[in-house]
Protein backbone atom coordinates (compact mmCIF):
# COMPACT_ATOMS: atom_id res chain seq x y z
CA UNK A 1 0.00 0.00 0.00
CA UNK A 2 1.47 3.30 -1.04
CA UNK A 3 1.68 6.30 1.20
CA UNK A 4 -1.07 8.13 -0.62
CA UNK A 5 -3.68 5.49 0.26
CA UNK A 6 -3.16 5.73 4.03
CA UNK A 7 -6.13 6.96 6.11
CA UNK A 8 -6.34 10.75 6.22
CA UNK A 9 -6.80 12.57 9.53
CA UNK A 10 -10.42 13.38 8.78
CA UNK A 11 -11.40 9.77 8.12
CA UNK A 12 -13.16 7.76 10.79
CA UNK A 13 -12.38 4.11 11.40
CA UNK A 14 -15.67 2.40 10.61
CA UNK A 15 -14.62 -1.24 10.86
CA UNK A 16 -12.09 -2.92 13.11
CA UNK A 17 -11.51 -6.28 14.66
CA UNK A 18 -14.06 -7.10 17.39
CA UNK A 19 -13.67 -5.45 20.75
CA UNK A 20 -13.87 -8.85 22.45
CA UNK A 21 -11.17 -10.48 20.31
CA UNK A 22 -8.01 -10.71 22.38
CA UNK A 23 -5.67 -11.61 19.55
CA UNK A 24 -6.01 -11.52 15.80
CA UNK A 25 -3.65 -14.44 15.27
CA UNK A 26 -5.19 -17.88 15.16
CA UNK A 27 -4.13 -21.22 13.76
CA UNK A 28 -7.15 -21.98 11.57
CA UNK A 29 -6.69 -22.65 7.88
CA UNK A 30 -6.61 -20.12 5.05
CA UNK A 31 -10.16 -19.54 3.92
CA UNK A 32 -11.79 -21.13 6.98
CA UNK A 33 -15.28 -19.83 7.65
CA UNK A 34 -15.24 -20.34 11.41
CA UNK A 35 -13.35 -17.14 12.30
CA UNK A 36 -15.96 -15.17 10.37
CA UNK A 37 -18.68 -16.71 12.52
CA UNK A 38 -16.62 -15.96 15.62
CA UNK A 39 -16.34 -12.32 14.64
CA UNK A 40 -20.12 -12.03 14.37
CA UNK A 41 -20.69 -13.69 17.77
CA UNK A 42 -18.19 -11.41 19.50
CA UNK A 43 -19.53 -8.26 17.81
CA UNK A 44 -23.06 -9.07 18.93
CA UNK A 45 -22.10 -9.93 22.50
CA UNK A 46 -20.34 -6.58 22.72
CA UNK A 47 -23.18 -4.62 21.11
CA UNK A 48 -25.80 -6.19 23.34
CA UNK A 49 -23.68 -5.45 26.42
CA UNK A 50 -23.54 -9.11 27.37
CA UNK A 51 -19.84 -9.62 28.05
CA UNK A 52 -20.15 -9.67 31.82
CA UNK A 53 -23.07 -12.10 31.79
CA UNK A 54 -21.85 -14.45 29.11
CA UNK A 55 -20.63 -17.97 29.60
CA UNK A 56 -19.75 -19.74 26.36
CA UNK A 57 -19.68 -23.52 26.48
CA UNK A 58 -17.29 -24.69 23.79
CA UNK A 59 -17.18 -28.09 22.12
CA UNK A 60 -14.15 -29.76 20.61
CA UNK A 61 -13.08 -29.05 17.05
CA UNK A 62 -10.91 -26.60 15.15
CA UNK A 63 -12.81 -23.81 16.95
CA UNK A 64 -11.43 -25.08 20.28
CA UNK A 65 -8.58 -22.73 19.42
CA UNK A 66 -10.96 -19.80 19.94
CA UNK A 67 -11.63 -19.68 23.72
CA UNK A 68 -8.19 -18.37 24.46
CA UNK A 69 -8.76 -15.34 22.22
CA UNK A 70 -12.35 -14.62 23.30
CA UNK A 71 -12.73 -11.98 26.01
CA UNK A 72 -15.63 -13.74 27.70
CA UNK A 73 -15.78 -16.60 30.23
CA UNK A 74 -15.57 -19.92 28.42
CA UNK A 75 -16.34 -23.29 29.96
CA UNK A 76 -14.67 -25.91 27.80
CA UNK A 77 -16.72 -29.09 27.44
CA UNK A 78 -15.96 -32.46 25.86
CA UNK A 79 -16.77 -33.54 22.32
CA UNK A 80 -20.53 -33.61 21.95
CA UNK A 81 -21.24 -32.60 25.54
CA UNK A 82 -21.68 -28.83 25.39
CA UNK A 83 -25.51 -28.88 25.55
CA UNK A 84 -25.65 -30.77 28.84
CA UNK A 85 -22.91 -28.59 30.33
CA UNK A 86 -24.73 -25.48 29.13
CA UNK A 87 -27.91 -26.85 30.71
CA UNK A 88 -26.16 -27.14 34.06
CA UNK A 89 -24.82 -23.59 33.74
CA UNK A 90 -28.13 -21.99 32.80
CA UNK A 91 -30.12 -23.91 35.39
CA UNK A 92 -27.94 -22.66 38.25
CA UNK A 93 -27.35 -19.21 36.73
CA UNK A 94 -30.56 -18.31 34.91
CA UNK A 95 -29.41 -14.70 34.49
CA UNK A 96 -26.28 -15.72 32.61
CA UNK A 97 -26.21 -15.52 28.83
CA UNK A 98 -25.24 -19.04 27.79
CA UNK A 99 -24.41 -20.27 24.33
CA UNK A 100 -22.72 -23.36 22.93
CA UNK A 101 -20.20 -23.24 20.10
CA UNK A 102 -19.93 -26.63 18.41
CA UNK A 103 -19.01 -28.15 15.08
CA UNK A 104 -21.20 -30.50 13.08
CA UNK A 105 -19.10 -33.49 14.12
CA UNK A 106 -19.35 -32.48 17.75
CA UNK A 107 -23.07 -31.70 17.79
CA UNK A 108 -24.64 -33.92 15.15
CA UNK A 109 -22.40 -36.98 15.36
CA UNK A 110 -21.09 -37.40 18.89
CA UNK A 111 -23.60 -35.20 20.65
CA UNK A 112 -26.87 -35.65 18.79
CA UNK A 113 -28.68 -36.95 21.85
CA UNK A 114 -27.55 -34.04 23.98
CA UNK A 115 -28.74 -31.27 21.70
CA UNK A 116 -32.05 -32.97 20.98
CA UNK A 117 -32.81 -33.42 24.66
CA UNK A 118 -31.75 -29.87 25.47
CA UNK A 119 -34.08 -28.60 22.74
CA UNK A 120 -36.95 -30.78 23.90
CA UNK A 121 -36.50 -29.49 27.41
CA UNK A 122 -36.53 -25.98 26.03
CA UNK A 123 -33.35 -25.00 27.83
CA UNK A 124 -32.99 -21.23 27.53
CA UNK A 125 -29.63 -21.38 25.87
CA UNK A 126 -28.46 -20.62 22.35
CA UNK A 127 -26.88 -23.54 20.54
CA UNK A 128 -24.63 -22.62 17.63
CA UNK A 129 -23.31 -25.22 15.21
CA UNK A 130 -20.56 -24.43 12.73
CA UNK A 131 -21.39 -26.86 9.95
CA UNK A 132 -18.74 -27.60 7.33
CA UNK A 133 -19.83 -31.17 6.71
CA UNK A 134 -16.59 -32.66 7.96
CA UNK A 135 -14.49 -33.44 11.04
CA UNK A 136 -11.90 -30.77 10.49
CA UNK A 137 -9.66 -31.09 13.50
CA UNK A 138 -8.94 -34.76 13.01
CA UNK A 139 -8.06 -34.16 9.36
CA UNK A 140 -11.18 -34.52 7.22
CA UNK A 141 -13.53 -37.36 8.11
CA UNK A 142 -17.23 -37.81 7.48
CA UNK A 143 -19.76 -36.58 9.99
CA UNK A 144 -23.50 -36.95 10.23
CA UNK A 145 -23.83 -33.85 8.01
CA UNK A 146 -21.40 -34.82 5.24
CA UNK A 147 -23.42 -34.45 2.03
CA UNK A 148 -24.07 -37.15 -0.56
CA UNK A 149 -21.19 -37.27 -3.00
CA UNK A 150 -18.80 -35.47 -0.65
CA UNK A 151 -15.29 -36.91 -0.62
CA UNK A 152 -13.72 -37.32 2.80
CA UNK A 153 -11.06 -39.65 4.13
CA UNK A 154 -13.77 -42.05 5.31
CA UNK A 155 -15.96 -41.66 2.22
CA UNK A 156 -13.16 -41.90 -0.32
CA UNK A 157 -15.36 -42.30 -3.41
CA UNK A 158 -17.88 -39.79 -2.18
CA UNK A 159 -20.60 -40.35 0.41
CA UNK A 160 -23.16 -42.83 -0.88
CA UNK A 161 -26.55 -43.57 0.61
CA UNK A 162 -26.08 -47.32 0.39
CA UNK A 163 -22.71 -47.39 2.03
CA UNK A 164 -22.66 -44.39 4.33
CA UNK A 165 -26.25 -43.52 4.89
CA UNK A 166 -27.89 -40.11 4.77
CA UNK A 167 -26.93 -36.72 6.14
CA UNK A 168 -28.93 -35.21 8.99
CA UNK A 169 -30.60 -31.83 8.68
CA UNK A 170 -30.07 -30.82 12.27
CA UNK A 171 -31.95 -27.53 12.16
CA UNK A 172 -35.10 -29.19 10.88
CA UNK A 173 -34.80 -31.87 13.57
CA UNK A 174 -34.44 -29.30 16.31
CA UNK A 175 -37.38 -27.32 14.95
CA UNK A 176 -39.64 -30.35 15.36
CA UNK A 177 -39.16 -30.35 19.14
CA UNK A 178 -41.55 -28.24 21.14
CA UNK A 179 -38.87 -26.68 23.31
CA UNK A 180 -37.07 -24.96 20.45
CA UNK A 181 -38.24 -21.39 19.96
CA UNK A 182 -35.94 -20.03 17.26
CA UNK A 183 -34.19 -22.12 14.62
CA UNK A 184 -32.35 -20.68 11.65
CA UNK A 185 -29.69 -21.63 9.17
CA UNK A 186 -27.24 -19.21 7.63
CA UNK A 187 -23.78 -19.26 6.03
CA UNK A 188 -20.62 -17.18 5.86
CA UNK A 189 -19.55 -17.71 2.26
CA UNK A 190 -20.70 -14.39 0.79
CA UNK A 191 -21.22 -10.90 2.14
CA UNK A 192 -24.96 -11.40 1.86
CA UNK A 193 -24.95 -14.68 3.76
CA UNK A 194 -22.66 -13.17 6.40
CA UNK A 195 -25.20 -10.42 6.89
CA UNK A 196 -27.92 -13.04 7.24
CA UNK A 197 -25.85 -14.92 9.81
CA UNK A 198 -25.48 -11.76 11.83
CA UNK A 199 -29.22 -11.17 11.77
CA UNK A 200 -30.06 -14.73 12.76
CA UNK A 201 -27.51 -14.73 15.57
CA UNK A 202 -28.96 -11.47 16.81
CA UNK A 203 -32.47 -12.90 16.78
CA UNK A 204 -31.34 -16.10 18.46
CA UNK A 205 -29.64 -14.12 21.22
CA UNK A 206 -32.78 -12.03 21.59
CA UNK A 207 -34.81 -15.23 21.92
CA UNK A 208 -32.68 -16.26 24.90
CA UNK A 209 -32.88 -12.82 26.48
CA UNK A 210 -36.67 -13.07 26.26
CA UNK A 211 -36.62 -16.57 27.77
CA UNK A 212 -38.69 -18.10 25.00
CA UNK A 213 -36.90 -21.44 24.81
CA UNK A 214 -33.91 -22.93 23.05
CA UNK A 215 -32.56 -20.85 20.20
CA UNK A 216 -30.50 -22.51 17.50
CA UNK A 217 -28.37 -21.21 14.67
CA UNK A 218 -26.68 -23.47 12.14
CA UNK A 219 -23.90 -21.63 10.30
CA UNK A 220 -22.53 -23.23 7.15
CA UNK A 221 -18.79 -22.51 7.08
CA UNK A 222 -16.06 -23.09 4.51
CA UNK A 223 -13.45 -25.78 5.04
CA UNK A 224 -11.37 -25.73 1.85
CA UNK A 225 -8.69 -27.91 3.43
CA UNK A 226 -10.98 -30.87 4.00
CA UNK A 227 -13.08 -30.18 0.92
CA UNK A 228 -9.86 -30.55 -1.09
CA UNK A 229 -10.29 -27.21 -2.85
CA UNK A 230 -8.19 -24.06 -2.92
CA UNK A 231 -9.05 -21.50 -0.22
CA UNK A 232 -10.61 -19.11 -2.70
CA UNK A 233 -12.87 -21.90 -4.01
CA UNK A 234 -14.41 -22.52 -0.59
CA UNK A 235 -17.38 -20.17 -1.11
CA UNK A 236 -18.26 -21.73 -4.45
CA UNK A 237 -18.05 -25.26 -3.04
CA UNK A 238 -20.29 -24.26 -0.16
CA UNK A 239 -22.83 -22.70 -2.52
CA UNK A 240 -22.90 -25.69 -4.86
CA UNK A 241 -22.78 -28.51 -2.33
CA UNK A 242 -23.45 -27.67 1.30
CA UNK A 243 -26.11 -25.05 0.70
CA UNK A 244 -27.97 -27.30 -1.73
CA UNK A 245 -28.37 -29.88 1.01
CA UNK A 246 -29.04 -27.33 3.74
CA UNK A 247 -31.19 -24.41 2.61
CA UNK A 248 -30.77 -21.10 4.40
CA UNK A 249 -33.51 -19.30 6.23
CA UNK A 250 -35.49 -19.06 9.44
CA UNK A 251 -37.00 -22.46 10.03
CA UNK A 252 -38.89 -21.69 13.20
CA UNK A 253 -39.62 -18.64 15.30
CA UNK A 254 -42.18 -18.74 18.09
Amino acid sequence: MTESLAPTPSMRKVFDKPELLLNTEHSLCPGCGEPIALRLMLELIHELGLRERTICVAGIGCYTAFPMIMDIDVLQALHGRAPSVATGVKRVRPDAFVFTMQGDGDMVSEGLQEVLHSAARGERITAIVLNNGVFGETGGHATATTVIGQHTKTTPGGRSREQHGNPIKISELIAQLDGSAYVARAAVHTPASIKLTRQYLHDAFQCQLEGRGLSFVEILTMCPTDWFVAPDQGPAWLEENLKQAYPLGVIKSV
Partner: protein, 75 residues
Protein backbone atom coordinates in the same frame (compact mmCIF):
# COMPACT_ATOMS: atom_id res chain seq x y z
CA UNK B 1 -10.14 9.77 -1.56
CA UNK B 2 -13.33 9.04 0.31
CA UNK B 3 -12.31 5.80 1.99
CA UNK B 4 -9.46 3.40 2.46
CA UNK B 5 -8.45 0.22 4.28
CA UNK B 6 -5.37 -0.77 6.22
CA UNK B 7 -4.19 -4.33 5.74
CA UNK B 8 -2.10 -6.24 8.29
CA UNK B 9 -0.24 -8.27 5.73
CA UNK B 10 1.50 -10.48 8.28
CA UNK B 11 -1.83 -11.85 9.50
CA UNK B 12 -2.88 -12.79 5.96
CA UNK B 13 -2.95 -16.45 4.94
CA UNK B 14 -3.42 -15.74 1.24
CA UNK B 15 -6.99 -17.08 0.97
CA UNK B 16 -7.87 -14.25 -1.44
CA UNK B 17 -11.54 -14.25 -0.40
CA UNK B 18 -11.37 -10.47 -0.30
CA UNK B 19 -10.41 -10.01 -3.93
CA UNK B 20 -13.64 -11.03 -5.69
CA UNK B 21 -15.99 -9.42 -3.15
CA UNK B 22 -14.53 -5.92 -3.62
CA UNK B 23 -17.08 -4.08 -5.78
CA UNK B 24 -14.65 -1.54 -7.34
CA UNK B 25 -12.06 -4.31 -7.73
CA UNK B 26 -9.28 -2.46 -5.93
CA UNK B 27 -7.67 -5.46 -4.25
CA UNK B 28 -5.08 -7.58 -5.99
CA UNK B 29 -2.87 -10.28 -4.51
CA UNK B 30 0.81 -9.45 -4.24
CA UNK B 31 3.74 -11.15 -5.87
CA UNK B 32 6.01 -11.11 -2.79
CA UNK B 33 5.04 -13.24 0.18
CA UNK B 34 4.76 -12.31 3.83
CA UNK B 35 6.70 -13.92 6.69
CA UNK B 36 4.35 -16.92 6.71
CA UNK B 37 4.93 -17.42 2.99
CA UNK B 38 1.54 -16.19 1.78
CA UNK B 39 0.67 -13.63 -0.85
CA UNK B 40 -1.40 -10.81 0.58
CA UNK B 41 -3.77 -8.19 -0.79
CA UNK B 42 -2.56 -4.86 -2.15
CA UNK B 43 -4.90 -1.87 -2.30
CA UNK B 44 -5.34 0.14 -5.48
CA UNK B 45 -7.01 3.51 -5.77
CA UNK B 46 -10.78 3.66 -5.69
CA UNK B 47 -11.79 2.14 -2.35
CA UNK B 48 -15.38 3.01 -1.43
CA UNK B 49 -15.18 1.89 2.20
CA UNK B 50 -17.94 -0.69 1.74
CA UNK B 51 -16.29 -3.01 4.34
CA UNK B 52 -16.94 -6.20 2.35
CA UNK B 53 -13.28 -7.21 2.34
CA UNK B 54 -13.15 -6.83 6.11
CA UNK B 55 -16.32 -8.82 6.59
CA UNK B 56 -15.21 -11.83 4.57
CA UNK B 57 -11.65 -11.94 5.90
CA UNK B 58 -11.09 -14.93 8.22
CA UNK B 59 -7.91 -13.44 9.63
CA UNK B 60 -9.04 -9.96 10.70
CA UNK B 61 -6.53 -8.25 8.43
CA UNK B 62 -8.58 -5.20 7.51
CA UNK B 63 -9.55 -1.98 9.17
CA UNK B 64 -11.77 0.32 7.15
CA UNK B 65 -11.77 4.13 7.14
CA UNK B 66 -14.22 6.55 5.60
CA UNK B 67 -14.58 10.28 5.28
CA UNK B 68 -17.63 11.40 7.23
CA UNK B 69 -20.66 12.13 5.07
CA UNK B 70 -21.13 15.83 4.42
CA UNK B 71 -23.82 17.65 6.44
CA UNK B 72 -25.94 14.61 7.29
CA UNK B 73 -23.31 12.89 9.40
CA UNK B 74 -24.08 13.65 13.04
CA UNK B 75 -21.80 11.07 14.70
Amino acid sequence: MRATVTIDIELCKGCALCVPVCPPRVLIMSEPVNRKGYRYPLLLEGCTGCELCAKVCPDYCFAVYREPLPARDHA
